[in-house]
């Protein structure tokens, strides 16, 4: 039985080392698919051996040596890779720290826009973070076979279509960075929304996403949206533990115990936002983080600066006029201008958000303000039908009990 401390020690090693090793092997072999496979093999072997033998003193050297042995095994079996594998077996000098950009190249290759988003996410977690296919499949609630196929397909495309292994030029960077940040935020959200009150998983995706975003911020310190996404993740993380009560039920933002929020992390996020603001015009992540900061910095729910939040949502709608952003803006609008203009906006969004559970939950809450209780109950039932998340279902179900008038809304938790 492996202790939690061994698991965390192993995860820390994988985070710190796998991307570096994988990046340098891709550079040496010129074959993303092969190099990534060798490193992944080494990770799988480490996961079997380290809990028994302990984490080695020099884990990076251990992983490299294991990858090298895998290369020799393959060379014996498979002649098609002979030349590339020869590189790794003949006089291989395993100095992976010669090129600090290797890991950055690796991240941009994994998140290339020619790959589907779910493949970008899976490849990044495997090649850069050292997660196994089975761990990724578990985290994203798909079968291991499906995840394995997704990864194999993406790697074939990288090799077959010759997706390059390089850091994008300055003129391409905004577009390419947006892909990386979107993938990272998916990883974080999956960890944040997927985690339950006491769900012990072998990898905490929030920790992984925060770690990688922090690394990106150090590698690209002039990019405001990287800093902003880091701030946004820190702000969510600062109140993660207060999202559930002692019995494991979801607690809404307005009811959370604010004294238990991580106020040091909130202050740090504020400093990141200030730093990002000096670097450029506010982007979508900056605005989302600024909204999260308004919530985080309010001493009580009643003292929330809704006017400021509404203004920030207004700016966000101009950058990203999607219906979910407009739904969140409508909630702020209700606090500033009352339920009537908010309801008009919610009505207008119905066609776009008919299949989104938080649309119906938000609508239900608003309908209760107007005393339209039967319609509110119908909307809540629709929301319950549309969500698979057990914590959200449980909370919505309590609203259908006549004595409980607690409320859930799109940006409330």
């Amino acid at each position: 039985m492996q202790s939690d401390s061994t698991v965390e020690a192993m995860n820390a090693v994988f985070r710190a080392e796998v991307g570096l090793i994988c990046g340098s092997l891709v550079r040496m072999t010129g074959d993303f698919d092969l190099a990534e496979d060798l490193v992944q093999d080494a990770v799988v072997i480490a996961l079997q051996r380290w809990p028994v033998d302990g984490v080695p003193e020099r884990p990076a050297a251990w992983l490299l040596q294991t990858a090298r042995r895998r290369a020799i095994d393959r060379l014996r079996r498979d002649s098609s890779y002979r030349e590339k594998l020869q590189l790794l077996t003949d006089g291989w000098a395993p100095d992976v720290r010669t090129d600090p950009d290797d890991r950055l190249r690796l991240i941009f290759t994994c998140c290339h826009p020619a790959l589907a988003r779910d493949a970008q996410v899976a490849l990044t977690l495997r090649a850069v973070m050292g997660m196994t296919t089975s761990q990724i499949a578990h985290a994203f609630l798909v079968s291991e076979a499906t995840m394995a196929q997704r990864i194999v397909r993406a790697k074939r495309k990288i090799v077959g279509a010759r997706i390059p292994y390089r850091v994008p030029r300055a003129d391409e960077l905004p577009e390419r960075l947006a892909e990386v940040l979107a993938s990272l935020y998916i990883v974080f959200n999956e960890g944040y929304l997927g985690s339950g009150p006491d769900l012990a998983t072998s990898r905490d995706l929030c920790v992984d996403a925060l770690w990688l975003c922090g690394l990106l911020a150090r590698m690209l310190p002039e990019e405001p949206e990287v800093l902003a996404l880091l701030a946004l993740m820190r702000l969510h993380e600062s109140r993660r533990t207060t999202r559930f009560d002692a019995s494991g039920a979801l607690v809404l933002l307005r009811d959370q115990e604010r004294s238990r929020w991580d106020h040091a992390a909130i202050a740090e996020a504020g400093a990141l936002l200030e730093q990002a603001r000096r670097l450029g015009r506010p982007g979508a992540y900056w605005l989302q983080a600024a909204i999260a900061a308004c919530h985080a910095e309010a001493p009580t729910f009643e003292e929330t600066d809704w006017a400021q939040i509404l203004a920030l949502y207004g700016a966000l709608v101009r950058i990203n006029p999607g219906p979910v952003v407009r739904l969140n803006r409508a909630i702020a609008l209700e606090h500033v201008a009352g339920p009537v203009p908010a309801m008009e906006e919610i009505d207008a969004l119905r066609a776009d958000l008919d299949g989104y559970h938080l649309y119906w939950a938000t609508r239900a809450e608003l309908l209760r303000r107007f005393g339209r209780l039967d319609e509110a109950a119908d909307a809540d039932r629709r929301a319950i039908e549309l969500t698979d998340n057990p914590s959200e279902r449980a909370l919505l179900e309590t609203r259908l009990e006549p004595t409980d008038i607690r409320a859930i809304g799109a940006n409330n938790n």
Binding site: A114, G160, A161, R162, I163, P164, R166, P168, E172
Partner: protein, 120 residues
Amino acid sequence: MKYVLLLIRNEETVLDDATRATKYAAIDEWFGELSRDGKLRGGEELQPSNTATTIRPNEGRPLVTDGPFMESKENVAGFVTIDVADLDEAIAIAKRWPYEDQIVEIRPVVDHPELSNHPV
């Protein structure tokens, strides 16, 4: 690495003569640049899909039918073969294709070193 750019257009879109002339001048320049850079390997514009003839397998007696292989508003209107370093370069070239309203599909070409190189 060779790629074929498949140029796909909506055949219901009709351009007036002036617009068409401007577009063709831009296309001429686009081809000129590829050619000067030594990256052009060929390409053709195709007549509309109502001129297409399709041969389908039919139990050993191929069936000749009128029309393109798939009925669609959008059809392949041309193709260009380019030889460039990697997918990023192909993407950059495809993004500069002068018909902004057309779809460009990029397909890497299969390299067959084992086959003889028949002169064209």
